[in-house]
């Protein structure tokens, strides 16, 4: 099972091989998006995941969507909410989905994936699956001056 936690930001920086926040957004916080390809290698039943630059991407490939943030100001930043729409050619994967909130209705309602239900017209409500998710969201209560972090979700190309 994958355990690619938020704390492995240094590895992400190495892979990106570039200044982390090349485009500084106006204001106190810089925000950077990137996409990595999950190159899974299975040897003797053990699977290792290497997240590499996506040179070729085809249906069925697993991708990692990454957002990095840094408080570039000298004041703390409060209630930092990052919203990330899941592009329609990919489907969110459930691994690691308990680290963030999700929406299946384009951001109107939010919750943890395990708690959401999906109701379509004429069909009885059912538990939401990761492929139903339209948007993901992280809420970070405080970012100290100079502090940074990495947010990510896994998705598969439909």
């Amino acid at each position: 099972m994958r355990t690619f936690s938020r704390n492995v930001m240094t590895a992400m920086v190495v892979l990106a091989a570039s200044p982390v926040l090349a485009m500084a957004a106006p204001g106190a916080v810089a925000l950077d998006s990137s996409i990595k390809l999950d190159k899974a290698v299975t040897v003797n039943g053990q699977t290792t995941h290497e997240y590499v630059s996506p040179q070729k991407v085809v249906p069925g490939n697993h991708l990692l969507f990454v957002t990095q943030y840094r408080n570039t100001s000298d004041k703390p930043v409060d209630h930092f909410v990052v919203t990330n729409p899941v592009p329609s050619p990919v489907a969110l994967e459930s691994v690691g989905a308990d680290n963030f909130e999700v929406s299946t209705d384009g951001g109107k309602t939010w919750g943890k994936l395990a708690q959401l239900t999906v109701a379509k017209p004429g069909v009885a409500p059912r538990a939401a699956q990761s492929s139903d998710v339209t948007t993901v969201r992280w809420v970070i209560p405080v970012i100290a001056p100079g502090a940074s972090g990495t947010l990510q979700y896994h998705a598969v190309v439909r």
Binding site: A16, A17, S18, P19, A22, M23, A25, P26, G27, A28, V29, L31, D32, S33, S34, I35, S53, P54, Q55, K56, V57, V58, P59, G60, L63, F65, T67, Y69, S73, K75, P76, V77, D78, H79, F80, V81, V82, T83, N84, P85, P87, S88, P89, V90, I143, L151, V157, R158
Partner: protein, 324 residues
């Protein structure tokens, strides 16, 4: 600084997707752009702010795939006329591709090997081979371009060898191979995909084939001739003046039909044919060439039996000669 191939750093770019996404069995269409932008809101001090990240873009490449099935599930009969075998070829990749089509009749378990006469695409899509309407291709040449998920029907016309015997079985293989590329799954054909995207060979290896079944439906004819002698003295001695009645029985067996079956027999030397003695199934036939099945000439008789199906009742021909 350039970060990663296929990334487009944009300012206030649109969020979501460019290129159109629709549900395809083959997966997201080649050339589709996957774009991701993050938005954030926060407060710092007394002010609140909204910011947006760059938009990162990855283009979906082409995955090459093909599937072939035989549509004629029960064996198709092959006899004096060629058999029409029908296959379906489907583009299982996520982008446009065309496929080389090869009909191969020499399958190792065959009791006989047919010859491939014609390979044709079902151009009007009606599932029936329409000569002059359906496009004939050289065996091994490429089909037209098929979109992702699209399929075509392909006809292979096979002729039976003369050595085949009734109820023998045979198979003909149709192989379809992607023109973009084939080989080990994962092989890259850089820039060879639709609209210049990279193409990767999928799980099928970019090639697929199916076998369709033939069964020989032939007829076998045996002719059995017998003679009955009646001499002028009430006996059966073959003496001058004796009448000989020759009977020829045509016996047809097999699951096929003997077409244009014609029986001929020459009068033995030293005899004289008895005019208008020719009969078929006991019914008299005239010697003259007319609308009935039989004719008699100076040298022999001819009876045209037409098409006789295997297992039909025996045809009995008789005629008389007098020993000179």
């Amino acid at each position: 600084m350039k970060r990663i191939c296929n990334l487009l750093a944009a300012g206030a770019a649109t969020v979501g997707l460019v290129g159109g996404h629709s549900a395809h069995a083959a997966g997201t269409l080649a050339g589709t752009l996957i774009q991701n932008t993050a938005n954030a809101t926060f407060s710092s001090g007394s002010s609140t702010s909204t910011i947006q990240s760059n938009t990162v873009t990855v283009k979906v490449d082409q995955l090459v795939g093909v599937a072939v099935t035989a549509l004629t599930s029960t064996p198709v009969t092959i006899g004096t006329a060629p058999a029409v075998l029908i296959y379906q070829v489907t583009n299982t990749g996520n982008g446009a591709d065309s496929f080389d089509l090869t009909g191969a009749p020499n399958v190792s378990s065959n009791q006989f090997n047919a010859t491939v006469q014609t390979v044709a695409i079902d151009t009007n899509g009606n599932g029936v081979y329409d000569p002059g309407v359906d496009t004939v291709i050289t065996n091994g040449a490429a089909s037209q371009t098929l979109a992702a998920d699209a399929s075509i029907k392909v006809f292979v016309l096979a002729a039976s060898p003369t050595t085949a015997t009734d109820t023998q079985t045979s198979q003909v293989r149709l192989t379809a191979t992607s023109v973009i590329g084939s080989g080990t799954p994962g092989t890259l054909f850089a820039g060879k995909g639709t609209a210049g995207v990279d193409a990767v060979v999928g799980a099928s290896g970019g090639t697929a084939n199916a076998l369709a079944n033939l069964i020989a439906s032939l007829a076998n004819v045996t002719l059995t001739k017998s003679a009955l002698v009646a001499d002028p003295y009430g006996g059966t001695n073959p003496v001058p003046g004796a009448l000989v009645t020759y009977t020829i029985v045509a016996h047809v067996v097999g699951s096929g039909t003997a077409g244009s079956l014609t029986v001929t027999d020459a009068f033995p030397s030293g005899t004289t044919y008895q005019a208008n003695s020719l009969t078929l199934g006991g019914t008299a036939l005239t010697d003259a060439a007319d609308s009935d099945a039989g004719t008699a000439s100076a040298t022999g008789i001819t009876v045209a039996l037409g098409s006789v199906a295997g297992g039909a009742a025996d045809k009995t021909i008789a005629f008389k000669v007098k020993i000179n």
